[in-house]
């Protein structure tokens, strides 16, 4: 099959990216996700909706985010030129708000007054709480109890923004458990509630609409690169938990065959230890949270808890489009351990004066090797998808520093 110009047509009418994706939800939710899809199709054709998004992106989020040449890191590694897409400069400090705005505007079109969300690192929770405050909507955020503990600054920010935080004790109290609880809430409050999913996963149409809202990252990066260097980059890189920042960067380049798409999964203590969050590199296809995708699971199909130093990557699955891009060979997926991410976190801080979040620190940790193998006439764009302020307490803890 000639795959040229076919990457863009997914998902199909059934919400599939090849063999992945779909709508694996209990019947109670089926009518809701079918309604959401209908509303999204209407919004896509509505210039008013797009204009409202553009206006908020520009004046509220601060888009376009800069494309920054990381000169000292480039010199340090001595290979390809490294550019950062600065999505950590967005309002609320991460890429998450790109998607929250889109979903909350959809919720308002549907007449929903109560927004629920799951959050891991707290960035999606903060972004959702922010947008809800902006539009005067009720906001309830489900967050694993472990994450509530390790992401205290974000928990406080969400409370300041008027959101109710529900700590989730089940499982290991991380992102997966928060998502289970959000789904349980949604199934209970079907009439007035909109579930704002933070990553490019879940039942169709979520993976598609989250990708579309996040694709502003890649569209801007492409335009900025053409303006700056007069050509496309040779590779684009991003960290992957569920994969929303990565798919947002990748998607506008997916038809450009000369551009390598490189995702970096969190391998925690190492894939071989079983204590990791690398669904593509250490998982098998399965069904969870509404979609068929790669999952960390045992031989009986029970889900294995993920592990990562980064709460935002601590998830046993991955968005279905990444599963598809991996199996079809269009994208490559590397891994990075907790320790490597911590080192990269410090390196970037010292060399560029940018404190990255632990999530993009995973991509930073692999960028040196990729840059070196590519050579100085080539260009990489990495999405610096979040800033590290939220992580300084936990980084200090890992470095044995008493604050």
């Amino acid at each position: 099959m000639d795959l040229r110009n076919t990457w863009d047509k997914w998902p199909d009418a059934n919400g599939r990216f090849g063999e992945f994706g779909g709508r694996y939800v209990a019947e109670t939710l089926m009518p809701l996700i079918l309604d959401l899809e209908k509303e999204y199709r209407a919004a896509q054709k509505d210039p008013e909706f797009q204009a409202q998004m553009d206006d908020l992106w520009k004046h509220y989020v601060g888009r376009p985010s800069p494309l920054y040449f990381a000169e000292r890191l480039t010199d340090h590694f001595g290979g390809a030129k490294i550019y950062f897409k600065r999505d950590e400069l967005n309002h609320t400090g991460a890429h998450k708000i790109n998607n929250c705005l889109g979903q909350v505007l959809l919720a308002m079109r549907m007449g929903k007054k109560r927004i629920i969300a799951e959050t891991g690192a707290g960035q999606h929770g903060v972004a959702t709480a922010t947008v809800c405050a902006r539009f005067g909507l009720q906001c309830v955020v489900f967050m694993g109890a472990t994450d509530v503990e390790r992401q205290k600054p974000n928990v406080f920010r969400m409370r300041l923004l008027g959101a109710e935080i529900v700590p989730v004790e089940s499982g290991t109290g991380t992102l997966k458990d928060a998502m289970n609880e959000a789904l349980r809430d949604w199934v209970t409050n079907v009439d007035d509630t909109f579930y704002c999913i933070g990553t490019a996963a879940g039942p169709h149409p979520y993976p598609e609409l989250v990708r579309d809202f996040q694709s502003i990252i890649g569209r801007e990066a492409k335009e900025q690169m053409l303006e700056r260097e007069g050509r496309l980059p040779d590779a684009v890189m991003a960290c992957i938990g569920g994969g929303s920042n990565a798919i947002g960067l990748f998607h506008p380049f997916v038809e450009d065959e000369g551009v390598r798409l490189i995702g970096v999964e969190a391998s925690g203590h190492g894939v071989e230890t079983g204590m990791h969050a690398a669904a593509l590199n250490g998982g098998k296809p399965g069904i969870l949270h509404g979609n068929r995708t790669y999952l960390l699971q045992d031989d009986d199909g029970q889900i294995i808890d993920a592990h990562s130093i980064s709460a935002g990557l601590d998830y046993p699955g991955i968005g279905p489009e990444h599963a598809f891009l991996r199996d079809s060979g269009r994208a490559e997926y590397l891994t990075c351990t907790d320790d490597e991410a911590l080192e990269a976190f410090q390196l970037c801080t010292r060399l560029e004066g940018i404190i990255p979040a632990l999530e993009p620190s995973h991509a930073l940790a692999r960028i040196g090797e990729v840059a070196k193998e590519m050579g100085p006439d080539q260009i990489i764009i990495m999405n610096l998808c979040g800033r590290g302020d939220k992580d300084i307490f936990s980084v200090a803890g890992h470095l044995g520093i008493d604050m």
């Binding site: 109670t28 009518p31 789904l183 209970t188 969870l288 009986d300 029970q302």
Partner: protein, 276 residues
Amino acid sequence: MPVSRISAAFDKARSDGRSALVSYVMAGDPDLETSYQVLNALVDNGADVIELGAPFTDPMADGPSIQRAGQRSLKAGTTLKDVLALAKRFRETNQTTPLILMGYANPVHLMGYETFAGAASDAGIDGTIIVDLPPEEDMPLREAYAPYELAVIRLATPTTHEARMKTVADGASGFLYYVSVTGVTGAKKPVASDIAPGVQSAQRISGLPVCVGFGIKTGEQAREMAAISDGVVVGSAFVDIISEMEQGKSREEIVESVARLTRELSSGLNRNGGVA
């Protein structure tokens, strides 16, 4: 003939002038031997259909009672194969009570739909309710079941409007499970008058028996639901009794309590007995 075991059970209840009692327990909670004894106690005391829960780490449609039951079962090491083995053991002495496996898609998907279908049929399972395989996604399962006449039992809910009910009914077999509330298992208390129109629509459109479940815990509630349906599903109430083994109750005490609740529920299901 598995499907006929299901229809025979509903036919018998109907000819007795009552609604069928469908009881749910989690297999392997807290161990497989207890489950085996509980299954027999259910049947001996008036349960017409058994739903056997297969544990899953991420039971998105279940409330705290069944979540914890699944965790206890998993902690004891129960696998999908163990659940099938339990079914097979039950079938050695019982050839008539329909046995429905209820669970989530991932363990079945990993085993492979075809392998699972063969194993389930061999174990004497009559049908399955896979909560997160809606009509849009269950075609591979239906194809795998075809050679065995295993029933694909689907869920209908208060959000299933008339047009959607046709989709739910198309390809469904055995019976329909009408989820009486929007919510997770065991949480809200259903109101018969609210759901009667939905149940009637499900009966009319599917032509199948319709059972009502989620949140029914007492004989009185069961009687109320029996008046408007072909069967009443009780799950969390049994699971709550079994959970008391954690607090030190003996297996014998648990089995006796299960038997007592089954009798209470069963006596409430006579449709001519009036609505409480």
